[in-house]
């Protein structure tokens, strides 16, 4: 009983705690403390899962019970190497981010943060497509609230824009899910929406598969975001509060990539292979395009929005190279990027909160006033660029190998990532942090306090351990990647 329900517990504990807090507790400090304890409990449970997890490609800790039995929709959750890695990531990142957001947030902020955790964990662990859609949609609602209530600037327009943009994408995906489910019913005579069942459908014509594939991928591309569905990111990232930006960039965007691997490759292996080159191209193009756009930005948050999009394009390109190097590298970059970007967004959030400025030209001379802040900022920055001995290096290397293996020309283009990232990041670093300026006296910033240093230390340790000795981390998800490539993609090639 306990063993099988541990995942459900991890998913729903934050939501239940959030509802109880909403009704019972008034003081925002108490709420924050209880929320923090909740995330720590979840971290402990996830660690337990991580230890007990056998390094095979099998689904583990599975719960599979009927939900709407007339239509064969099941409450089907489980974890494999791939989702375990991201689960671990979520469990570590969220509590530490709480320490960064510690002061000055109100009740609603913390309640929404808890609800987001339920949404993202549910999305990650759902294996039934309808259940996946269920969580995929509701994880957006707390973000909608967070941006709208606690955002800055033109917050209402940007929150409505991002919500309707992504929800429209997922509504079409919803129709696609139903369509495949009906074809499954027509072929096998019973209902099921589990992704393992939907894989078996053979009666779809090639044209139908094209349509369905692009509807699915469209929904995921909006969330990631890949070119050309990226138009929502600048306004959202620049107007959203720190917590929301952090969650959007370091966790939710990754779930889009995750969903491509989890659902697209098993259900449409042949179409994935057919269009792999195009998606690698879109990825590389996005990488360069967003990189150049990042160079041009003056708003530091917008710059990081484009930087994040640029890296995510590289991850997508790595996934669609469809070989061991590329996919392992992409998974590794998911973790590495989540840590470094998450850290950077939290630091920037603090910077903006303290100084009230967010334009690169307004900032400057931070290094003198806040040396520890600058030091940690630099580490995160270098990890983000992918300097050797950081985890960014390992993952980008693997991805470039992978892309090179599938297409030489693209492989060459992918190496540009380091160059572009280095140019916008270092330029920004120089102007916003290092350089002394005349308006220096207006800027007031405190250095990181002990709590924040403690919070971010595990991330720094992870960055270096993962950069120097990646083997134990890759071992956890390698069997799953092999399983995906050997079983699903080869099946697609035969087909």
């Amino acid at each position: 009983m306990y063993e099988t329900n541990i995942l459900s517990f991890i998913i729903f504990l934050p939501a239940i705690v959030s509802f109880i807090l909403m009704i019972c507790v008034k003081k925002s400090e108490d709420i924050r403390n209880i929320a923090f304890i909740t995330t720590i409990i979840i971290l402990i449970l996830v660690l337990k899962i991580y230890i007990n997890f056998e390094p095979t490609s099998k689904m583990q800790f599975v719960t599979n019970i009927p939900w709407i039995s007339q239509y064969g929709i099941n409450y089907y959750i489980g974890v494999d190497g791939f989702s375990l890695t991201i689960l671990m990531l979520i469990a570590i990142l969220i509590p530490t981010s709480y320490l960064f957001l510690w002061e000055g947030r109100t009740k609603g902020y913390w309640l929404n943060m808890l609800l987001i955790q339920t949404g993202v964990t549910g999305t990650l662990l759902a294996l039934d497509t309808i259940l996946f859609y269920f969580f995929w949609e509701i994880m957006l609602l707390p973000v909608f609230m967070l941006i709208g209530i606690y955002g800055t600037g033109n917050k209402v327009l940007s929150t409505i824009k991002v919500t309707i943009y992504t929800m429209t994408g997922s509504l079409f995906m919803f129709v696609a899910i139903i369509y495949i489910g009906i074809n499954f019913y027509n072929e096998f005579g019973y209902w099921s929406f589990q992704y393992t069942s939907l894989m078996k459908v053979t009666i779809l014509s090639h044209t139908e598969e094209y349509f369905l594939f692009f509807v699915f991928v469209g929904a995921f591309m909006i969330k990631i975001p890949l070119f050309p569905f990226h138009t929502w990111i600048t306004s959202t990232y620049s107007n959203a509060p720190t917590g929301a930006v952090f969650l959007l960039s370091s966790i939710m965007a990754k779930l889009g990539i995750y969903a491509i691997v989890r659902f697209m490759i098993p259900i449409f292996p042949d179409i994935c292979i057919e269009f792999a080159d195009y998606f690698v191209f879109i990825g590389i193009f996005g990488l360069i395009y967003f990189g150049i756009a990042a160079l041009m930005q003056n708003d530091i948050k917008k710059m990081f929005a484009y930087s994040s999009a640029s890296h995510l394009s590289l991850i997508a390109a790595g996934i669609f190279s469809l070989n061991h190097f590329g996919m392992n590298g992409a998974l590794y970059l998911i973790i590495a990027h989540a840590i470094s970007t998450g850290g950077l967004f939290l630091l920037i959030g603090m910077l903006e909160y303290e100084t009230k400025f967010k334009n690169i030209t307004d900032l400057g001379g931070i290094a003198k006033k806040a040396p520890i802040f600058t030091f940690i900022f630099a580490i995160m920055l270098f990890a983000n660029i992918g300097l050797p001995s950081t985890n960014g290096f390992v993952s980008e290397l693997l991805i470039i190998f992978g892309i090179y293996k599938s297409n030489h020309l693209m492989g060459f283009a992918a190496t540009l990532t380091v160059l572009i990232a280095a140019s916008y990041m270092l330029w920004m670093f120089q102007r916003a942090i290092l350089q002394d300026k005349t308006n220096n006296n207006i800027l007031k910033i405190r250095d990181l306090n002990l709590k924040e240093i403690v919070a971010i230390t595990p991330w720094i340790i992870l960055i270096f351990i993962m950069g120097i000795y990646p083997e134990p981390f890759i071992n956890k998800f390698e069997p799953t990647v092999t399983h995906f490539i050997d079983d699903f993609l080869n099946y697609g090639r035969i087909k």
Binding site: I68, L141, G148, I160, T163, I164, L171
Partner: protein, 500 residues
């Protein structure tokens, strides 16, 4: 003889309650509070009588020597009775706060409300066209009166006249339709008409088709489908908001109860004849509904416009009926979902209006999240349910309807409906955004809303919506019945139509 009376009891209870309150309203000493109590007691008794047969499969015609096949009592009608009574009860109890504030809600209001419910319940039972007309008109006339209950405002007068004139006009269509059908078949009894259709395979006299088309027009008018939708905005806007809630939810269910019975039991074989027309009308209904809803500045009018869109979704289910009878389940489930969501939304607005006496534009909702966080949270749930966001009953209902439409091969209609849903996100989320993201005009501090009956009932509706969306599987540690339960009851009630 006595056994059969028990089946009649719900209707008799409501009728006697209505008459009793009509008599009581002559005395001044009975206040609105008393009438609320009396009417809810009568409805509760009727509900208990209905629930006695809950889950049974039956179809009987009691006192058939008197009624002569006009009225049937089956699981189908019983199912609708329960929904209607429950909806009526919700309207009365949620409106408690509103009615106490406005002096014109006297005893007669509740009496007429019960008469309306009586007419609607009758409509769920009738199996014959002329009595259907009578039942429909009983319900409609009560609703006309309810709309115009407070004639001091010109909006009310406009609403009642618009609805009265158009409604009577369409009633005449219905009568003409009956006449033509009678001319073609020689009977007005639905069972007999079915037999005649089935006996002669190539049954295609123009007279008959024109007659049925006129009946379909009435149906389209009452559910506010294109091209008969334009009355909705003004009438919903002009009517007292409680009556709007009643019309949008309960009355719509009642209309569907009769026409679903008619379509399912007889005209299903004729569905192909109207299929093309209905497809076009559905697309237009969705388009115009979305357009109307998106352009409104008043929340009441927005909800009215969105009710047209919801009608469009249900018409999707009706079109799919031609292919598989199972889409009737989806329509009935959708009705329940829409009933809960719209009663919740309108009821909550009535609650707010009663306190603030404002109009109900979007601007009036600014800052509600800070002033009344509890009501704002409930309103958010209703908006999410209407928009079909997962974890609410609206999502499950949409899932059923879309699934049935795609199974029947209407993939493009489903895509069109999805586009309408995407548009609907805008106007529902706009209200949520207005409530939470703007500071209040009045700059009042958070005032605690008093615990009252209507507060409580709105919360119950919100809980039902959440429960319907999540069901028992996800919260498997709490032993409550699941969504499967509702669906199997629906299935049972459809089966009862085909008992010979």
């Amino acid at each position: 003889m006595i056994d059969n009376i028990i089946y009649l009891m719900p209707i008799i209870t409501i009728l006697s309650g209505a008459i009793l309150m009509m008599l009581l309203s002559m005395y001044n000493k009975y206040k609105t509070k008393h009438f609320i109590i009396i009417s809810s007691i009568f409805i509760t008794i009727a509900l208990i009588f209905s629930i006695l047969h809950f889950g049974e499969l039956y179809r009987i015609k009691p006192f058939n020597d008197i009624f002569n096949n006009i009225i049937v009592f089956d699981t189908f009608a019983n199912f609708f009775n329960i929904i209607l009574l429950f909806g009526g009860l919700l309207v009365i109890l949620i409106g408690e706060h509103y009615c106490k504030k406005y002096s014109y809600f006297k005893g007669e209001f509740y009496s007429i409300l019960l008469f309306a419910i009586f007419g609607m319940m009758l409509l769920a039972h009738v199996n014959e066209l002329i009595s259907a007309y009578i039942a429909l008109e009983i319900a409609s006339f009560c609703v006309y009166i309810l709309i115009g209950f407070d004639t001091s405002r010109s909006k009310r007068v406009e609403a009642i006249f618009k609805y009265l004139v158009l409604g009577s006009f369409i009633g005449a269509f219905f009568l003409l339709g009956i006449v033509l059908v009678y001319g073609a078949t020689g009977t007005t009894n639905i069972d007999t008409i079915t037999e005649i259709i089935n006996q002669s395979n190539n049954y295609n006299t123009p007279l008959f088709y024109i007659g049925i088309s006129l009946l379909v027009f009435t149906f389209l008018f009452k559910i506010a489908a294109f091209p008969f939708h334009s009355w909705v905005l003004d009438v919903y806007r002009g009517a007292p908001i409680l009556v709007t809630a009643f019309m949008a939810s309960v009355f719509k269910v009642a209309i569907f109860s009769f026409f679903l019975r008619a379509i399912l039991s007889d005209f299903i074989s004729l569905n192909t004849f109207w299929e093309d027309a209905l497809i076009v009308l559905t697309i237009l209904t969705l388009t115009f509904g979305s357009f109307l809803a998106i352009t409104q500045n008043n929340v009441k009018r927005m909800l009215a416009g969105s009710s047209i869109v919801h009608t469009g979704y249900m018409m999707l289910g009706i079109i799919a009926l031609g292919e598989s009878i199972e889409s009737a389940y989806s329509i009935m489930f959708y009705l329940i979902a829409y009933l809960l969501s719209s009663i919740g939304a309108f009821g909550l607005i009535s609650h707010i209006i009663a306190d603030t006496r404002k109009r109900s534009t979007y601007d009036d909702f600014k800052g509600l999240g800070q002033e009344k966080p509890y009501l704002a949270a409930l309103m958010t749930i209703f908006m999410f349910s209407l928009a079909g966001i997962p974890s609410t009953i609206g999502f499950i209902a949409k899932f059923y309807v879309f699934t049935e439409a795609i199974i029947s091969g209407y993939i493009f209609l489903a895509i069109f409906a999805i586009i309408a849903t995407a548009i609907s996100l805008y106007y529902y989320f706009k209200l949520v955004a207005v409530m939470y993201f703007y500071p209040s005009f009045a700059s009042k501090k958070a005032s605690k809303s008093k615990l009252g009956v209507s507060n409580f009932m709105i919360s119950v509706v919100a809980l039902l919506i959440i429960w319907g969306g999540i069901g028992s599987a996800i919260v498997f540690f709490i032993p409550i019945p699941s969504i499967d339960g509702i669906l199997s009851v629906v299935e049972l009630s459809i089966q009862s139509l085909f008992i010979k």
